[in-house]
C-alpha cells in the first residue's frame, strides 16, 4: 500500500551570518533581508531528511512511498528548493502568496491544511518544530487543530508511526542535516520544476507595531602576548586565578 508523506518546510534568511551593523540596516530598511543568503530552516532541514530516511525504510520493506515537500514562500527561493528534487523528493510545491506570513502562524497553518485536504490527505506530515523569522513554534499544533490529526514531537527516525495519519514535529534530531546530492542527481534535478500554486490567506495577517534591536554589546579587551603561553598566562593571572580562588 502506498504511504503518502508530506514535509512542510520554510526557506529563511541565514541570519547567523549577519553582523551587528547589518542587523541595524535590516531594521532601518523595513526588514529587508534581500542581501542575505537563504537556507532551509534548521528544524525543517531535519524534517526533510527525516522524510527521506522514512522513505528509505519503506523501500527496504518493499513498500511504496510518495514523498512530497511543500513550502509557503516566494519564487526567489526556487533555486534552493530545487535541490530537494536532487536528494529524492518527487513532488515539490510552493504555495505563493504576496502576504507576509512571518508573524501569522495560523495563516500559514491554514494554507498548509487547505493544501493537505486538496491533495487527498497524507499518512504522515513532517515539519520542523520552529522556523526562523516569527519563531512562533506553533504551526504544527495549529495544523493539528485544523486537520484534527494528532501531533507528536520526534527526535529519532528509526521506525514508522504506530498509528496514522499523524503529524510529527521534528526537534533536535539525531540527523539534523539534509543529505548531499551527487552531481548527476543535481543535473537531473535542474530539469524539474517546482509546482506553484497561488493562494490567498483566509485568516487575519498580523504585523508587529514596532521592531527594534537591543544593543547589549560588551566591549572586548583582547589579551596580548608574543606567544600562546604569554597570552594564556595573562588569561590565568587576570581572570582565572581570581575566579578559581572563589
Amino acid at each position: 500500500m502506498l504511504m503518502k508523506i508530506l514535509v512542510c518546510f520554510k526557506v529563511v534568511p541565514a541570519i547567523d551570518l549577519l553582523t551587528q551593523e547589518e542587523w541595524y540596516q535590516v531594521v532601518r530598511e523595513g526588514m529587508d533581508f534581500g542581501v542575505c543568503k537563504k537556507e532551509l530552516g534548521c528544524f525543517d532541514e531535519a524534517a526533510l531528511e527525516f522524510g527521506l530516511r522514512l522513505g528509505d525504510l519503506l523501500k527496504m520493506d518493499e513498500r511504496s512511498v510518495s514523498l512530497t515537500a511543500v513550502t509557503v514562500g516566494h519564487q526567489d527561493s526556487d533555486a534552493l528548493i530545487r535541490n530537494l528534487f536532487a536528494v529524492g523528493y518527487k513532488h515539490i510545491c510552493r504555495l505563493q502568496t504576496d502576504a507576509d506570513l512571518t508573524y501569522s502562524p495560523l495563516a500559514t497553518a491554514t494554507l498548509l491544511a487547505d493544501f493537505v485536504r486538496q491533495s487527498g490527505g497524507y499518512d504522515l506530515i513532517l515539519l520542523g518544530q520552529q522556523a526562523g523569522g516569527g519563531d512562533s513554534g506553533q504551526v504544527h499544533w495549529l495544523l493539528s487543530e485544523l486537520l484534527g490529526v494528532p501531533c507528536q514531537t520526534q527526535k529519532e527516525c528509526v521506525a514508522l508511526p504506530k498509528s496514522m495519519p499523524v503529524i510529527w514535529a521534528v526537534e533536535n534530531a539525531e540527523c539534523p542535516y539534509l543529505r548531499i546530492a551527487t552531481l548527476r542527481e543535481k543535473m537531473a534535478a535542474g530539469k524539474l520544476t517546482v509546482e506553484t500554486i497561488e493562494v490567498t490567506p483566509s485568516v487575519p495577517i498580523y504585523k508587529p507595531k514596532n521592531i527594534w534591536r537591543d544593543d547589549k554589546q560588551r566591549h572586548c579587551r583582547m589579551l596580548e602576548g608574543e606567544t600562546t603561553a604569554e597570552r594564556v598566562a595573562a588569561l590565568y593571572t587576570q581572570v582565572l586565578q581570581e575566579v578559581l580562588k572563589q
Binding site: Y103, G133, E145, V232
Partner: protein, 296 residues
C-alpha cells in the same frame, strides 16, 4: 480586566508562578490563578514570593485531576469550558513546551489569539501590547492583540536540575564549546580543564549535533540559559541564538583562532589563538585535583 494565570504544578512551578504574577500585575491588580494538579499536589502552599504588598492574598482556584499522566488534551478538556464560561481578557502561562501547546490550542478553540515566547505585556487603549523576540531573538517585536482571550506563553524557563552539582543553570563557571573547539584530542583537553576548574560543560547547537557533548547541554535559545560568574567559550563563532544562552554571564571570555569571529564583539575578554594550544597551556597552569600545577 480579567486576567488568568494557568499554572500546572510540575517541576519548576514555584519559580514560574511569581514570574507570571509579576507579568499579570502589569494588566490587573487582581489576577486569578488557576492552579492545576493532583489532589496531593494542591495541598502544597504557594511559594512565599507570590505574596507581595500589592497582592497580599492572591486569588487561587484549585483544579484537581485524577489521571496518572495527563496529556495536553486532558488539560484542554478541563480548561476550554472554564475559559468559555469565564471569558478572561488574557491568559498567561509559563514557557514550557506543554504550556506553549496549551496556549496555542486553547486560543484556537476559544477564538482567541496566542503568542509564545512573550517577554513583556502592557495594556494600551489599542489593546494588549505584547513584546517577544523574533529572528532568533536578534530583534524584538511588539504586537497589539485585540482578540480575546489573548493566550500568552512567557519566554521564561524554569530552573531545572538545581540539585545537580554539574548543573549548567546553577554553575558559577561554564566552559562552552563551539565547533571550532578542535578534534577529539583537543576536546578531551577541554574536558580535563573543565574538571580541574570545576566548570560545567555545554556549548553551541552545531557542536552538540556533532556529538561534542550531550544535546541536553546545549546552550542558547533552544537550549539552556546560564548566568555564571565566568563563561569561557572555545571555538564558538558568536551566533546570536547561542549568545542568548550565555549573555547573562557576569564575565564572558572568548577563545577563537579567527580574529574576525563575531564573538569578539560580544565578549569582555578575547584571546585569539588555537583552542587546542590554549587548552594545553592552561592545563600546565591550572592546578589539578591535588592542587599541584603540572610542570613542563
Amino acid at each position: 480586566m480579567r486576567v488568568v494565570i494557568i499554572c500546572i504544578i510540575s517541576r519548576g512551578w514555584e519559580q514560574q508562578l511569581p514570574i507570571l504574577l509579576e507579568a499579570a500585575s502589569k494588566l490587573t491588580a487582581e489576577p486569578e490563578i488557576w492552579l492545576i494538579g493532583c489532589k496531593e499536589e494542591l495541598l502544597l502552599p504557594l511559594p512565599p514570593s507570590c505574596y507581595t504588598e500589592a497582592l497580599p492574598q492572591p486569588r487561587v482556584r484549585q483544579i484537581s485531576y485524577d489521571l496518572p499522566m495527563p496529556t495536553a488534551e486532558d488539560y484542554l478538556a478541563i480548561l476550554q469550558p472554564m475559559v468559555e464560561n469565564t471569558a478572561p481578557r488574557a491568559i498567561l502561562l509559563d514557557g514550557s513546551i506543554l504550556s506553549k501547546e496549551l496556549a496555542t490550542r486553547l486560543a484556537f478553540r476559544t477564538g482567541g489569539r496566542s503568542i509564545t515566547g512573550v517577554n513583556e505585556i502592557t495594556n494600551s487603549p489599542d489593546g494588549l501590547m505584547v513584546t517577544r523576540g523574533i529572528y532568533s531573538c536578534n530583534l524584538n517585536a511588539t504586537f497589539v492583540v485585540e482578540e480575546s482571550p489573548a493566550v500568552l506563553a512567557l519566554s521564561a524557563h524554569p530552573q531545572l536540575d538545581a540539585d545537580d552539582n554539574n548543573s549548567l543553570e546553577t554553575a558559577q563557571l561554564v566552559l562552552a564549546m563551539g565547533r571550532g573547539a578542535g578534534d577529539k584530542a583537543s576536546r578531551d583537553k577541554l574536558y580535563e580543564l573543565a574538571q580541574r576548574m570545576g566548570a560545567a560543560v555545554g556549548g553551541t547547537r552545531p557542536a552538540a549535533l556533532d556529538g561534542y557533548f550531550p544535546i541536553e547541554r546545549m546552550l542558547g535559545i533552544s537550549g539552556t540559559s546560564v548566568k555564571p560568574e565566568l563563561c569561557i567559550t572555545f571555538g564558538a563563532s558568536g551566533a546570536t541564538p547561542f549568545m542568548m544562552g550565555i549573555n547573562d554571564s557576569k564575565l564572558l571570555v572568548a577563545i577563537n583562532s579567527d580574529p574576525r569571529a563575531l564573538i569578539f564583539r560580544y565578549c569582555d575578554i578575547g584571546l585569539c589563538d588555537s583552542c587546542d594550544a590554549v587548552a594545553e597551556e592552561l592545563l600546565k597552569i591550572v592546578p589539578n585535583e591535588t592542587g599541584k600545577q603540572i610542570a613542563d
